[in-house]
Amino acid sequence: MTQGKITRKWEAFPGQNRFYCNGRLMTAPHSGVFLLTVFLITGTSALFFIFDCKYLAENVTVAIPIIGAVLFIFTMSSLLRTSLTDPGIIPRATNEEANYVEKQIEVTNSANSPTYRPPPRTKEVLVKGQTIKLKYCFTCKIFRPPRASHCSLCDNCVDRFDHHCPWVGNCVGRRNYRFFYMFIVSLAFLAVFIFACAIAHLILISKEDSRQFLDAVKESPPSIIVALICFFSVWSILGLAGFHTYLTTSNQTTNEDIKGSFTSKRGQESFNPYSQGNVCSNCFHILCGPLTPSLIDRRGLLTESYMAELARPITTEPVLPMKPYPIQNMNGPTHITMNANEMPGIYRQTTETTESNAGSVTHLVSSEQPLAIASTVHQMSLAQQQQYKSQPSLNLGRAHHAHHHHYHNVTSSSASAAGGSSPPPPPRVHKSQSLADNLNSEDLHLDAVVLGQQNKFVGSSRLDNDMTVQDRENSLLSANRLRLLQDTTMIESALDLDSLDDSSLGTNSQNGLMKVMV
């Protein structure tokens, strides 16, 4: 690194992670909060060991410093393991793989209709009989495996993504969930233990000379500081430990729980296909099961061929400006390219074909109907828009268009107007000429809904149009759960909700980065 000569693979790693010790350790880009966590834990423990432990060891039992030390070492070890190891990053696809996948989805596409249509960006697979939708990650150029999600802060797809935890300064995923869980649990024990010891210390002092409790506090002020820190932090830690215990026993991730992935919706039965069957085997499997090795080979030697695989040609795909999130400015770099020339290029899945292979039925969404007619969309949902605006919390969390399937009926007229031949002509827009001026044929290729700031109006109406009543209820529920979780645990998390899945669309996925603050 200092010699200016690249030798190891971590130095060419495409994500945002930072590496230390020549690639042995890795962490997420912003580690400020992580350092605060380390400082709080070591500081409080140091005060406890210096001021309380000595007295208690002499007057009560020597077991107290020993238990304290064991808990402290275990907590710190789990914490460092959580934050400094690979959370389960899925390496990005090589050019050839990306092209192959692209070709495959285009083949299924052209077999169905003579006109060119953008290849589908979702794929449905059956996992133990349960339909799971795999989304294409535009940054990593892969269909994300089930349970994986793209972390917008680290810019990687992470297997069994739980959440990005700034307190530990890393994503929590398949490889470090067990460390994270043990960290939370041991920290809860440590906090309770230190609190109890500090209070016991104060009580013993006051009993000794039969003085007031306040006099004891005056004699040993660090004890009361330690007790207060522990008292205030222990509730959120206990809440979090309880929540993650529930998740572990049911083999879910925070991400899935908040999205409500396995709750039955719209009368469809839904179950968790990843569960091992019962509470015990879920816990064992998650906490003691086989640990997948890191797949990014960060210490491997960087070869010419690896560099060639990694090097991507400058993509000519349009840079997609992201939907304007109201809270976007709150965090980090936001490179939002707002563009008046770009119009929503909306298309929907209309039909699905089934392609079966090797036991798993893969439904490839075979055609998506381009619907690049914003005016039509906007007319339809003026009424709903009003309703939507009255739910500001939805605006930030659930600006998604996850459930596509319902719309072919409403939009069939516009779809027929837009579904041209190949290459697609500029869509004919009847009503709103000013909007149509901005449309060009490129919109039909856009993989995402492209919304500029100027089109906020259209944007909000689109959101409405996309959400059925049930979706809205679900998202409200999700927002509430998210808030509850954050109120109780004070954890600041960048959860990958459906809306965030879209954030990986652009070449710079920080565009859609959203953090939910406490």
Partner: protein, 147 residues
């Protein structure tokens, strides 16, 4: 921003991007049994005439059994996990895990298959752990990338 992006541009871009030396075929994962690593046994049509179906299926089946072994919930893997937890995970610094041993077996198996079966037919398998266990890459060493 002027992104002239029509069909023609897309096609030429695809051509430009496919500047690899060989034709490569990618066998995708089969998720029907959950997130356990398992590859699809469907025969890729590109390999028709170059490789016997039986050989391909045999390779994939063996490969899948190695991964099944790596992720199987046995007593010894659970003990390994519990032991690691009891040592505050310090054991991972010095001891190789069961999964890592299995991945080594996979690498060995791939090398052996390449030598015995695939290279004589002008094909080459890439170790799936080099591709994040996401795909099995088969390169056709005697075919140009464009089909």
């Amino acid at each position: 921003m002027s992104n002239h992006h029509n069909n023609g541009a897309r096609a030429s871009e695809t051509e430009q991007m496919a500047q690899s030396q060989y034709l490569k075929v990618f066998v995708q994962r089969d998720y029907s049994e959950g997130t356990v690593v398992k590859f699809q046994t469907r025969f890729p049509p590109e390999l028709e005439g170059k490789l016997d179906r039986q050989i391909f299926e045999g390779t994939i089946t063996r490969l899948n059994s190695y991964f099944a072994e790596a992720e199987k919930a046995t007593c010894s893997t659970y003990c390994e996990g519990c032991l690691a937890c009891l040592t505050a995970y310090f054991i991972y610094i010095c001891k190789e895990t069961h999964y890592e041993k299995c991945l080594k077996k996979v690498s060995k198996f791939i090398a052996e298959q390449n030598e015995r079966m695939y290279e004589p037919r002008g094909l080459k398998l890439t170790d799936p752990s080099m591709r994040g266990l996401r795909v099995l890459e088969i390169s056709c060493l005697d075919r140009p990338p464009n089909v």
